[in-house]
């Protein structure tokens, strides 16, 4: 589904954020991208989600080479991903419902369908009773669940979460991870970056990054070498 071949990413005036990355993620997999701060986890997720292009190498997603993708086609590709960020990136001048409906407005879904799908997504993350509330009034865990609702409302085939539990205490973090596991169980590919490997009750793949390179320390993870 996603294949990295000799991928390098370098930001202007900086060292290589990623070096010689080769990996393959299959459809429906649960993948943890682990590593210390500055290891390149966020960069890797940005490359997967076509937010950025690699400096060298190719990224193949569903037979499309993302490196060769035209800028005007990028938004349409991004719609296939559900993105969740550590800082939630919620809009605090809108209520919960309006935050979640945004991807559907972008996809030009009619308002009746949108309302139904937003309520289903809010229900899935346990926030249906808070649809009229402003996200700023929610707890950290609830805000992250709201961000998940926004990511899943357009029914993406891949969920990408960049350190979604980084700012949460253990109880909330477990709650969030359980939501990801439930999506993986219904066939969604879930890619989660985190500092440490969570205790997953289900089968998963680990990609451990260190200084921009894939470390082979976790030998049980099947990687493309």
């Amino acid at each position: 589904m996603i294949k990295f071949e000799k991928v390098f990413k370098k930001y202007p005036g900086e060292m290589d954020a990623l070096q010689d990355i080769n990996l393959e993620i299959s459809s429906g997999e649960l993948v943890f991208v682990t590593g210390p701060s500055g290891a390149g986890k966020s960069t890797l997720l940005k490359l997967i989600s076509a937010v950025e292009k690699p400096t060298n190498g190719s990224i193949i997603f569903e037979n499309t080479n993302l490196s060769e993708l035209r800028n005007k086609d990028m938004p349409f590709l991004r719609r296939k991903f559900g993105m969740i960020f550590q800082d939630h990136k919620l809009l605090y001048d809108r209520n919960c419902f309006e935050n979640v409906v945004l991807p559907l407005e972008i996809n030009d879904i009619n308002p009746t369908d949108s309302a139904r799908r937003v309520r289903a997504a809010l229900n899935k993350v346990g926030l249906l009773n808070k649809e009229k509330m402003n996200p700023i009034t929610l707890s950290g865990g609830e805000q992250q669940r709201l961000a998940i609702a926004r990511a899943i409302v357009s029914r993406p085939s891949i969920l990408i979460a960049d350190e979604p539990t980084g700012n949460l205490d253990k109880g909330y973090a477990d709650e969030i991870m359980n939501i990801f596991y439930s999506f993986q169980q219904v066939g969604v590919t879930v890619i989660v970056s985190c500092h440490e490997l969570p205790k997953s009750p289900i089968k998963f793949k680990q990609i451990h990054l260190n200084k921009g390179q894939i470390s082979n320390s976790d030998s049980h993870v099947p990687l493309l070498s």
């Binding site: 349409f76 719609r79 990136k89 809009l91 001048d93 945004l102 972008i106």
Partner: protein, 276 residues
């Protein structure tokens, strides 16, 4: 606030245009009625007068001929000045016979050719083209029009800068929304759309204010002119612009809003892309 700024800024050249259009229409009307005065020699005979009359009648450029004998002219002058010959000590009529002709052409060349031909006729003493001042007025109107066009262009640039800056500030206000929308797959046109609509609404609102001010000006001026009619001795009527002119003002304002907002939003959003 933005509506008022756009409305008043557009009002300046539009009001100038309204005034110039009114003066131009008056000058055109006067010019069509302009006369050439032909003063005859004092010792002219009736045969020569008849000859000149027939010569004038044969000219295709002349539409109206009015002959005024010197006696009639003298009586008119006296009654106008409310004087008698005794008062001014003139016993003999000093005025000549005169032909007053109206032309069907405004062409300088044709009028010059006609006056040159008339000068050749025996018995004609002097020819005065009464419409020459109108030509000067026309030239002045033309210069004012050019000035207004330059002023209008400058004010359009001012408007573009004001609207662009407002839209740029709005993109900064909605920076988070723009960034999030881009991250979750919004196209540039989706993101530009609200800013373009805002620009269009600014233009429309400003245009409506301009048209309202112009219409108000015309009504207020005409009411005032009517009130002072007894002093002025004549009613001066300011004619409003045509529906097409008002529509052009409205559409121009909307276009200015549209283009300013489009280019400003595009530039600002391009800069925001570096903040991912």
């Amino acid at each position: 606030m933005m509506f008022i700024i756009i409305g008043i800024t557009l009002c300046l050249p539009s009001a100038g245009y309204l005034i110039v259009e009114n003066v131009r229409q008056i000058s055109t009307k006067i010019q069509h009625e302009a006369e050439i005065s032909i003063f005859l020699k004092k010792d002219i005979s009736q045969d020569q007068i008849d000859f000149i009359d027939s010569a004038l009648k044969s000219s295709p450029e002349i539409t109206k001929i009015h002959f005024e004998p010197k006696l009639v002219a003298w009586e008119k002058l006296q009654s106008k000045l409310k004087l008698s010959t005794l008062d001014i000590g003139i016993s003999e009529n000093p005025l000549p016979h005169g032909f007053f002709i109206t032309l069907n052409t405004l062409s300088k060349e044709k009028i010059n050719r006609l006056t040159e031909d008339l000068k050749l006729i025996n018995g004609i003493d002097n020819i005065v083209i009464d419409g020459s001042w109108i030509k000067k007025l026309r030239a002045i109107i033309y210069m004012i029009k050019v000035g207004l066009l330059s002023l209008g262009s400058l004010l359009v640039i001012v408007l573009i800068v004001i609207i662009s800056n407002t839209i740029r500030l709005q993109t900064l206000t909605y920076q988070n929304e723009i960034l999030v929308s881009k991250l979750i797959g919004a196209t540039n046109s989706f993101i530009h759309r609200p800013f373009i609509y805002t620009g269009l609404i600014y233009g429309l609102g400003g245009g409506v204010i301009t048209v309202s001010i112009l219409k108000g000006m015309v009504i207020a001026f005409n009411n005032l002119a009517e009130r002072y009619e007894y002093i002025l001795g004549n009613t001066i009527v300011l004619v409003g612009l045509s529906a097409t002119d008002y529509l052009i003002i409205l559409l121009s304002a909307m276009l200015i809003g549209l283009f300013s907002s489009f280019f400003s939003a595009r530039q600002s959003i391009k800069k925001l892309e570096n903040l991912y």
